[in-house]
């Protein structure tokens, strides 16, 4: 059943993009989840839509823009939104989470205005909302590959600093880790990954791909390294089987991918509950406490 995916170029594009996203979203998701920033991804994905709607509106009058992938405008808006969010967090020191709905609702509000100015919803926009196997163009694939290369290099270079910041920001700061610009770098990376994920899963479901595999992995992992391995495995299984099944069932891939990731999460939670007692005895842990998270 995979034959078709290699015969047709558009399917191959979707497949390759899916594999990249199935890797990138959970990897960054590990940091996002342990930093308790899961909701931030939602806000950033909505502001990405605003950027895309803005591009579609502009390209009606500025024809040269039609040759440019709207994804880049989406990325620019997402990065801009992430910077604004960081600023807002400093304005509301005691209510930091308020930055999320402010950015999210202004993103949607602005996006809706752009969309209606651009003569309302068309099929293209629908694909951005829920993802599409057919919509991944060669230029999308180029953009996604570029994001992959940049994000992987940055993660390898700054792995230890990002881990320390996620575990204990104050302590990291006292150890001389440059927390301010690393936080900034991290949120920019998040913005880029979110923007690249939306061709496959769609804006409304990006945060699911960032959080669901990690939520399952956190139940299984003892070390931070294991978190990455489990998250990537679960992310790839969800994306690949989601794409294939969406193609054959003729439904939006975003929905299938999320449903499969959700299924895995439920299996893991169920499995741990059923096997919890046995595992505890086997490993001889005396003080194992059920994680509160």
């Amino acid at each position: 059943m995979f034959d078709l995916f290699f015969q047709y170029e558009f399917l191959r594009n979707a497949f390759l993009a899916g594999i990249i996203i199935g890797f990138l979203a959970p990897v960054l998701g590990v940091f996002i989840v342990v930093r308790r920033m899961a909701l931030v991804t939602d806000a950033l994905s909505h502001i990405t839509l605003t950027g895309i709607a803005f591009h579609l509106l502009l390209s009606q009058s500025a024809v040269f823009l039609q040759a440019i992938n709207p994804l880049y405008m989406g990325m620019a808006f997402s990065v801009g939104g992430s910077i604004l969010m960081e600023k807002l967090r400093h304005v509301y020191k005691h209510y930091q989470e308020i930055a999320v709905p402010i950015i999210m609702s202004s993103g949607i509000g602005l996006g809706v205005v752009f969309i209606s100015l651009a003569d309302g919803f068309n099929n293209d926009l629908f694909n951005y909302l829920f993802g599409s196997v057919l919509a991944v163009t060669p230029t999308d694939l180029t953009a996604i590959t570029a994001v992959l290369v940049v994000v992987v290099i940055l993660l390898v270079l700054f792995y230890k600093e990002l881990l320390f910041l996620a575990f204990d920001e104050e302590q990291a700061k006292v150890s001389g880790i440059p927390n301010k610009w690393l936080n900034f770098l991290f949120i920019v990376m998040t913005a880029l990954v979110i923007a690249s994920s939306m061709r496959i899963v769609g804006i409304l479901l990006v945060s699911a791909l960032v959080t669901l595999p990690v939520a399952a992995a956190i139940q299984l992992s003892k070390s931070f390294k294991q978190m990455f391995i489990y998250s990537i495995i679960i992310g790839e299984i969800s994306v690949i089987s989601g794409l294939v099944s969406a193609f054959y069932l003729n439904v939006a891939p975003g929905g299938m991918i999320v449903l499969i990731a959700l299924g895995i999460l439920l299996l893991v939670i169920g499995g741990r509950k059923a096997g919890g007692m046995g595992v505890r005895k086997l490993r001889g842990r005396k003080t194992l406490e059920w994680r509160k998270a």
Partner: protein, 259 residues
């Protein structure tokens, strides 16, 4: 091991430091010098400004007036943070669901020293194991940090602070959330680090009782410094004036009950 206290140089110098929080004085005119080899207990009731003072020492807050020097360098210009090991109050209330092993947590203590764009090498891994062994936690190295007891976690955080070979260890309320039996063993460990390895210690606590049998110097803080000297000269009357009611100190010997 090294223990050269021949010419005691100030590791931390605090001179006439004041700090206000929305016009409320938190610290007033604090002058405090910590010399090499000191084991200083900084005590004071809740809200006396202890933690604020520590944050100023570490450059996390800037004082309203006065100066802070670390190893003779103004705190703003200080760069050798690996010389200072810090175990924060929050270390006890960290996210216990965080999926990291004891080894991974202690490795973090080396990250600042290793520097950007460099990775954990074989020598570093050896150092981590050696440090874990020195706090008696080597056998736990592959365990998840959240599975350990409060006392064990505290030893891991000490190891994290020690792994970069600091000159001074700053501990902010390290025994909160640690059971009584472990507290004594914990103080023994600190005393050992101070005497045998020559590590300078600054211990911040509101628990005057147990502490006075281990530290060599005491500073009492309640917005301003009420006492600063050796443990021997420290009187119950000093404490009573600080806390505003009678406080009974323990004998200056190991063991004994609470106050």
């Amino acid at each position: 091991m090294k223990n050269t206290i021949s010419a005691p140089a100030s590791i931390i110098s605090v001179d006439q430091v004041s700090f206000y929080y929305t016009n409320q004085p938190v610290l007033e005119d604090i002058t405090l010098h910590i010399k090499k080899g000191d084991f200083l207990g900084l005590v004071g009731p809740n809200g006396s400004g202890k933690s604020t003072l520590v944050k100023i020492l570490l450059g996390l807050h800037a004082p309203e007036s006065g100066t802070v020097q670390l190893f003779g360098t103004p705190v703003k210009k200080f760069k050798s943070w690996d010389q200072i090991g810090y175990v924060s109050q929050k270390a006890n209330s960290f996210n216990s669901g965080f999926p990291a092993t004891v080894f991974e947590v202690v490795a973090m203590g080396l990250y600042g020293k290793i520097g950007l764009f460099r990775f954990l090498g074989k020598a570093h891994k050896e150092k981590i194991k050696q440090t874990l062994s020195s706090v008696g936690m080597l056998e736990f190295k592959d365990r998840n940090i959240g599975e350990l007891s409060g006392g064990q976690q505290q030893r891991v955080f000490i190891a994290r602070a020690l792994v970069s070979d600091p000159e001074i260890l700053i501990l902010d309320e390290p025994t909160v959330g640690v059971d009584t039996a472990s507290v004594q063993a914990f103080y023994e460990l600190l005393s050992h680090l101070n005497k045998k390895r020559g590590i300078t210690l600054l211990l911040i606590t509101h628990d005057v009782g147990a502490m006075t049998s281990y530290v060599t110097k005491v500073a009492c803080l309640n917005k301003s410094l009420h006492f600063h000297g050796s443990t021997k000269d420290f009187e119950e009357s000093d404490m009573s004036s600080l806390y505003g009611h009678d406080v009974h100190l323990l004998t200056h010997e190991h063991g004994g009950g609470g106050h």
